[in-house]
Symmetry: C2
Subunit: 285 residues, 2 copies
């Protein structure tokens, strides 16, 4: 079990509290910052928890300062948890490129050196972080959901698909939907996982979708002016996999929108409403 979190910052926001806490992660072997928003409803009892996974180059600050999510979380009674995107700090391997190493953990468990010791964001997000949040905050242990952006959209889809029953809802903004087939994913998978294509498939939403054990409806918003759309994101491949498997997907191509947090801020209310509806409903499993 991890050590208790210490509070780094606290700001009143929409009647609730936007906090950042820091804790020593056993899984990652380093200290980690995590953003957590506690809605006003958390003062009087446990609330469902929505996990947000950010994209390349981000840390825990991007979502909490730019996504305009607190207004909706306050209204809907949702706790928002926004971790960093990779291990960091002294002794943690890094790379000069923005798309490998710190800021680019890809929400997987690395098996290759020098990454294998610290780069275990999959286990961190699936197990260690929820255990910590549920032990130290007024979190409803039975009601979790997950979403993210770009690399974090990939992470949210993969984590939901691989853990049936663990999340009540999943959604993504501009996710990397088929990382095994695009430059960002191939570079990261080769470095973190080696050349074994079967290992890659375990972190590829389009590859995982056909064997999904749970028909969790998926909401995806994708801007049609996103500068990474054709090269890195390829939502049409994921859409085809969903169609072939009969998996419920709502893919919204948003005209004029790009890859930025301006897009996230515009549609985060729709996503959190989607999550809140599922989190309040009786589970379908």
């Amino acid at each position: 079990m991890s050590a208790s979190p210490t509070r780094v910052s606290q700001n009143r926001s929409f009647g609730g509290d936007q906090q950042v806490f820091r804790h020593d992660s056993t899984v990652l072997g380093c200290a980690m910052n995590v953003g957590i928003y506690l809605p006003p409803a958390a003062a009087s009892g446990p609330c469902p928890v929505v996990y947000w996974l950010s994209g390349l180059t981000c840390n825990e600050q991007n979502f909490i300062t730019k996504a305009a999510a607190q207004e909706h979380a306050a209204r809907l009674g949702l706790i928002l948890v926004a971790p960093d995107t990779s291990p960091r700090g002294e002794g943690v391997p890094d790379d000069d490129a923005y798309d490998l190493g710190c800021g680019a953990g890809f929400y997987l468990n690395a098996t290759r050196e020098p990454w294998a010791r610290h780069y275990r964001m999959y286990d961190y997000v699936v197990d260690e972080l929820p255990a910590l949040v549920e032990a130290h905050f007024p979190a409803d242990k039975e009601r979790r959901s997950i979403l993210g952006h770009s690399m974090g959209g990939h992470g949210a889809l993969v984590i939901a698909l691989r853990n049936p029953g663990r999340y009540r809802a999943v959604s993504a903004f501009a996710p990397i939907t088929a990382p095994s087939q695009v430059p960002w994913g191939q570079k990261a998978f080769r470095a973190y996982l080696g050349e074994d294509q079967a290992a890659w498939a375990e972190y590829d939403a389009t590859a995982l979708l056909p064997s999904a054990k749970e028909r969790l409806p998926i909401l995806v918003d994708q801007g049609d002016k996103d500068q990474f759309l054709e090269r890195e994101l390829k939502p049409e491949r994921f859409q085809r996999a969903c169609e072939e498997a009969g998996h419920p997907l709502t893919l919204r191509m948003q005209p004029g929108y790009d890859h930025s947090y301006y897009t996230i801020a515009t549609f985060i209310g729709d996503h959190l409403t989607h999550h809140a509806t599922a989190l309040r409903a009786t589970p379908r499993l």
Copy 2:
């Protein structure tokens, strides 16, 4: 007249466009970045313009990325204009301190060297910037309002009080209300204006209030956990001046809120609604 603005960035946001443009300012003698949000309504005709003045250390990015204002501006049909907080760049004098020089223009016209040539943010905000906006964007030339935060709240109050009839509404978050009486203001006024107390009074909302020629209702939000409240902001002095003059002031002390953009994001909707109501009404002059 200034040269035409060039577009630095453009992001779709809530159906409108968040842009940053750059232009050569004649008044300031340097190039300036300005954030401008065009709501969906601007596609079909002129919209009222709300000017936002940021606080110490900010540039044009803080408000457009952190204030969550676009949602409200889109709904209310308001153009939002967010300039930088000072002149910047090669040849512009600066100081190592965060509260003097670049990032700390205090929305005044400096008269002392080395500041007098470039530090003319008062003229820039009152005259040059609106002329530019009204020449190049679908701005309603008759409907302007102004608000700001901290140093920018001071600027908004001073500019509205000194220019009766020019703005339909004014409001502020955590404004420096009596700069002649507090360390931030005294340091800036001494550097930019010298020791002449009469010159200071021209940029001090509490000093200007008794001779206000227009009873523009003022809305102020002030967090009671603001770390600068007692030393720098002193809303009670401004409140007393308004009471003595019978000037309409709504001062809301917000429990638990601090000096950050989390506070601004929480209440910006109230402020923009206040502005929109006044901007749509028949002028009272």
